[in-house]
């Protein structure tokens, strides 16, 4: 099925014809800016808006105190005994809990005036002790981020066996290390943004937002504003990247919607880059302490691990602070088959920006931890790292395979995938290069990682965790007009991944219709059916699955129309290559256009059971998860003077089941690896002990550019999932999941060290320290 056709939807974007939030204009539109807290933790004693209100061009100035009674706080639920819910007011009114939290909003005729007036809003703060890290927050006598809670721990979860299980101790060898994933964020090219317009004639609030979740956002707006879903229409226009950071409800989306209803004028807020970095959503900030027990022959006996996640000030909607700890718990065992597993995970609130999703949620820690420990084990027992992995990988005959960490994987061939990567990289030649380099005193290292990505997760996975604010299904509506042209409406919108192309290809191959007869609509709650949205690598599995089922339903109806027309049995007919042939009259065919015409001008013989028109709607609950797999390999060189890391070669062997568009898959892998390189080498949101963000602009928060990105070689296998419609598995996050572990392992291999504390990103400074600690 896989063809690399050009993404027609991308051409307008490349030509600058995209319509993003900031491109949408209304003649009577007002603009807002938010007054944000300079303190990480402080009581708000007073907000004086009088001077700001008097500025020319200012329409309104409202503080959290003015509106908190009218807007319900963001309060996502998690049905889990270890969970504590938090109230996140759209604007803080009693106290602020992170630098950048909104305390007031200025509405003005343009953004310049709004920003000028914002400087006249006087807020009296009474600073409180700052909870600057998860470690501080976990202390029994720590100050509280939320005064009404018993502790700062928003979620506590355990899985696997008892951590003192004697079976774990049976292994001959133990290796352990601490792995620190930095606090990072997605840096979409388009920042967030929202426009709200309340239309009195239809009592409808229309909200344009740069969001990944139009339907779920509408749910959130209903809850916050206390109005019904039929009074709200959410539209996601062209969205310039999301990466998970746009799958949470933003307080600003709620405030702007509220203001539109209050002022009866269209209101626009375009988030700027500093707001995006400081106050949209951060991700990760995780410490995993892990230990692996193994036999002398390299067989893994067990793993135990503890994850502590600094989740910032509030639970975000819809996934809550459980996002990282739950996912890490199910990811650490990776593609390996062993017996004993014990895990505990904590989400700890601190005075930092709240935590949301970012490409690779939790799964990044899988290879970071497991592959890091495997490299230590390989050093300790003197076994080649590739051999050691091969020895422990689940076998193709093991499927469905129950991971020691809990989840069940549907399919794959991990040993073959590893062989493919070893072959493509020419692994033994790399090792030869390495020994030559070492003889010359150069630091050349090889890293690898084998991992899985659970994708397209359905109801069972979310409900098992107690996550009840995610629908977990998706839906498609497919209609044919009377001329035989197709339109599809799907609940998983695009942030630039090419879904319109992929979905059109699915329809085209299933219904034999040319691509130019197909139009795909996404991202509008008024036209697309209800569903989860695009995140967790789900749009092809879940949205595409629904669409594929819709094409089957449509074919079924076409057959029934043809059967009635020819007055023969349904069973004798089949829709093939865009038409149905009459078995009794070989020259007689009905094309899709013919059939559509019959559907829209129903003939008298059409039985009542076949409704007129040609439109189907399918909701699809995907399997608990379908697991893509991949092996990454990197060859890096570290400059022995400056400790600069150069990635000399990078190989990806991936298996994401049935593919629709090879070019789009490769684009996902390359983009993902690039963001993974950022995590490994460059990106870090650092706060000081007062909770001030130190890396608040792109001058200090460093994302990889083209010069930092190597040529990435991609080789593929295709093991269709037996569980998902179409055999699809998601691939959106795979690249990001594998790269940090692969590059870290290559760096440690180059340095010939076995570090106990691994803190990413591995900056030249940190490598300098690792190297010198080794010396001393």
């Amino acid at each position: 099925m896989s063809t690399s056709i050009l993404c027609n939807e991308q051409l307008p974007l490349l030509r600058g014809e995209g319509r993003y939030i900031d491109d949408i204009q209304f003649s009577n539109m007002l603009h807002v800016t938010f007054v944000r807290s300079p303190y990480a933790h402080a009581r708000i004693n007073n907000v004086d808006t009088e001077v700001a209100k008097r500025q020319t061009g200012v329409i309104a100035v409202l503080s959290g105190l003015n509106i908190h009674a009218n807007i319900q706080p963001i309060r996502p639920q998690l049905k889990n005994p270890g969970f504590q819910a938090t109230n996140w007011h759209a604007m803080a009114w009693d106290k602020v809990r992170y630098v950048g939290e909104a305390v007031a909003v200025v509405v003005a005729s343009d953004r310049y005036i709004a920003e000028d007036a914002a400087e006249h809003v006087i807020v009296e703060y009474e600073p409180l002790p700052v909870i600057d890290s998860a470690a501080t927050g976990m202390l029994a006598d720590s100050a509280r981020v939320h005064d009404n809670l018993n502790s700062n721990i928003l979620l506590e979860t355990q899985s696997g066996i008892d951590k003192d299980d004697p079976a774990f101790k049976k292994g001959d060898i133990k290796v352990s290390a601490n792995f620190r994933h930095p606090r990072v964020t997605g840096i979409p090219i388009e920042n967030c943004g929202v426009i709200a317009d309340y239309r009195t004639n239809t009592d409808e609030l229309v909200v344009w937002s740069s969001t990944q979740i139009p339907h779920v956002l509408r749910d959130a707006l209903c809850d916050s504003l206390g109005i019904s879903a039929h009074q709200i229409r959410v539209i996601a226009p062209d969205v310039g990247g999301g990466f998970g950071t746009k799958m949470q409800a933003l307080p600003e989306e709620i405030v702007v919607s509220y203001l539109a209803r209050l002022l009866h004028r269209p209101i626009k807020w375009t988030q700027d880059r500093m707001e995006n970095i400081k106050a949209s959503f951060h991700a990760r900030d995780v410490l995993v302490e892990a230990e692996l027990s193994a036999n002398i022959d390299g067989t893994i006996v067990g793993m135990r691990a503890k994850a502590i996640c600094d989740v910032g000030a509030y639970n975000s909607f819809p996934l809550t602070a459980g996002l990282e700890p739950f996912t890490i718990g199910s990811a650490l065992a990776g593609p390996y088959d062993f017996e004993h597993y014990s895990y505990e995970g904590y989400a700890v609130s601190t005075n930092k920006c709240p935590m949301g999703a970012y490409r690779g949620v939790g799964f990044v820690l899988g290879p970071m931890v497991m592959e890091g420990l495997l490299d230590k084990l390989s050093q300790k027992i003197g076994m080649d790292p590739a051999l050691l992995r091969k020895k422990n990988l689940a076998q193709p005959t093991d499927f469905p395979f129950k991971s020691p960490a809990g989840p069940i994987y549907d399919s794959g061939d991990y040993p073959a995938l590893l062989d493919l990567a070893l072959e493509e990289s020419n692994y033994s030649a790399w090792r030869n290069l390495q020994s030559e380099a070492r003889n010359e005193g150069r630091l050349l290292g090889i890293g690898m990682s084998c991992f899985i990505e659970m994708t397209g997760m359905g109801r069972d996975t979310y409900r098992k965790r107690g996550m009840i604010n995610v629908p977990a299904f998706d839906a498609a509506r497919l209609q044919v007009d009377r001329h035989g042209h197709l339109e599809a409406f799907i609940s998983t919108p695009s942030q630039g991944q090419g879904q319109k192309t992929t979905f059109a290809q699915l329809i085209s191959s299933s219904l034999g219709a040319p691509l130019h007869d197909i139009k795909v609509h996404l991202g509008d709650t008024a036209t697309t059916p209800y569903g989860s949205g695009t995140f967790a690598s789900r749009s092809l599995v879940s949205g595409g699955g629904a669409l594929l089922k819709a094409t089957e339903m449509l074919q079924d109806k076409l057959v029934r129309i043809a059967a009635a027309y020819w007055q023969i049995d349904n069973k004798d007919l089949e829709y093939v290559d865009g038409r149905i042939s009459n078995p009794n009259q070989s020259s007689e065919h009905l094309s899709l256009k013919d059939l559509a015409d019959l559907a829209y001008t129903p003939f008298q013989k059409l039985p009542p059971s076949v409704e007129p028109g040609l439109s189907v709607h399918v909701s699809y609950n995907p399997p608990p998860a379908v697991s893509s797999s991949a092996v990454h390999m990197a060859l890096v060189e570290i400059d022995k003077n400056t400790y600069e890391v150069k990635i000399k070669d990078y190989v990806v062997a991936e298996d994401c089941g049935t593919k629709v568009n090879q070019a789009i898959v490769e684009g996902q892998v390359r983009g993902g690896v690039t963001q993974g390189i950022g995590i490994a080498l460059l990106e870090e949101l650092s706060y000081d002990s007062e909770g001030q963000l130190l890396s608040g602009s792109l001058m200090d928060y460093l994302v990889p550019g083209i010069y930092e990105t190597p040529v990435i070689k991609i080789v593929s296998m295709e093991t269709p999932s037996p569980w998902s419609v179409g055999g699809f598995k998601g691939v959106g996050e795979s690249g990001t999941i594998g790269a940090p572990a692969t590059i870290t392992n290559a760096i440690l291999d180059a340095l010939e060290i076995s570090a106990q504390d691994i803190q990413l990103p591995l900056t030249p400074e940190r490598i300098f320290r690792l190297k010198n600690e080794k010396k001393s």
Binding site: D116, S686, M699
Partner: protein
């Protein structure tokens, strides 16, 4: 990220610029290429009342070489010099450093005068000015004066310029053919400000070093010449052992900051390894160019 209100002037002669500065003094800020001032205004880290835009002052956009050296008008864009391939032989160290200034789109807008006067301690131009004994031509309504680069940089982001003055031209002496040079810069990513950078320049006569310059950026609040290290080379024949000692000394003369990208220790380490590499390369080039 919108600038605070300001009054904007776009004069088209140097005289008008000077009149405006005379009138507004400290309240005025000069806009050249805007590559630093633009973000500072947008982030409201700088909120001047008056912006005096030099972009219409055609008289400041020129560069010329004569027997006294290279003279570059303040509004000359970095990319203009970058594209002149002659400079690679007539001013090799300058030509080598320009590609390190940000990215091409920044060099298309960014100006020589802006970079020299902004005095970012991690920027390239200040090092070049120091290493090449550059001078700076300054004007106000009363007249002109010339300042040596070594006296120009006062403290972090602060120069010898008075509020009523503008930098109109920089001057670099002609290249001495028996010299060797090197420019090395280390940054986190391509195009970022230097964590540490070195401009080195040696003249050899009869195998002995008669002149040495080691200018370092990213090593403290201002770009500096490590003069003790430089003097260790004078009159000496170059050996690897000597260069190592000089590099160690150079790193000792720095007063680097610790920030989130690099600690002071690491910056000192970088200084010692980069100065050594730069001196080795400069020696090699000096030998090749007949300075034996």
């Amino acid at each position: 990220m919108k600038p605070a209100p300001f009054d904007y002037y776009d004069p088209d002669s140097v005289e008008e610029v000077l009149d405006l500065l005379q009138q507004y003094g400290d309240d005025a800020k000069i806009l050249a290429g805007g590559q630093s001032l633009g973000p500072l205004l947008n982030m409201r880290l700088s909120t001047p009342q008056i912006i005096v835009d030099l972009n219409r002052v055609a008289d400041l956009e020129y560069y010329k070489s004569d027997n006294t050296g290279l003279r570059v008008g303040a509004m000359t864009r970095q990319s203009t010099l970058e594209d002149d391939t002659n400079l690679r032989t007539t001013q090799p160290i300058l030509a080598a450093s320009i590609p390190y200034i940000g990215h091409r789109s920044i060099r298309n807008r960014g100006t020589v005068g802006g970079s020299v006067a902004h005095a970012d301690p991690a920027a390239e131009w200040p090092a070049i000015m120091l290493a090449l004994d550059g001078t700076i031509l300054i004007r106000n309504t009363k007249g002109t004066r010339t300042v040596d680069a070594s006296d120009f940089y006062v403290s972090a982001l602060t120069t010898d310029l008075e509020p009523d003055e503008i930098l109109v031209e920089i001057q670099l002496p002609n290249w001495v053919k028996t010299s060797g040079w090197s420019f090395i810069e280390f940054s986190r990513r391509h195009g970022d400000f230097a964590i540490l950078g070195v401009a080195a320049y040696l003249t050899l006569e009869n195998r002995r070093c008669t002149k040495s310059r080691i200018a370092i950026i990213g090593g403290g609040p201002i770009p500096i010449r490590t003069s003790k290290a430089e003097s260790m080379l004078i009159g000496e024949t170059i050996s690897d052992a000597l260069l190592k000692d000089v590099a160690e000394q150079a790193s000792k003369e720095l007063d680097p900051d610790s920030d989130m990208h690099a600690s002071a220790d690491y910056r000192r380490h970088l200084a010692s390894v980069l100065v050594l590499s730069a001196l080795q390369k400069a020696t090699e080039r000096a030998n090749k160019s007949g300075g034996k």
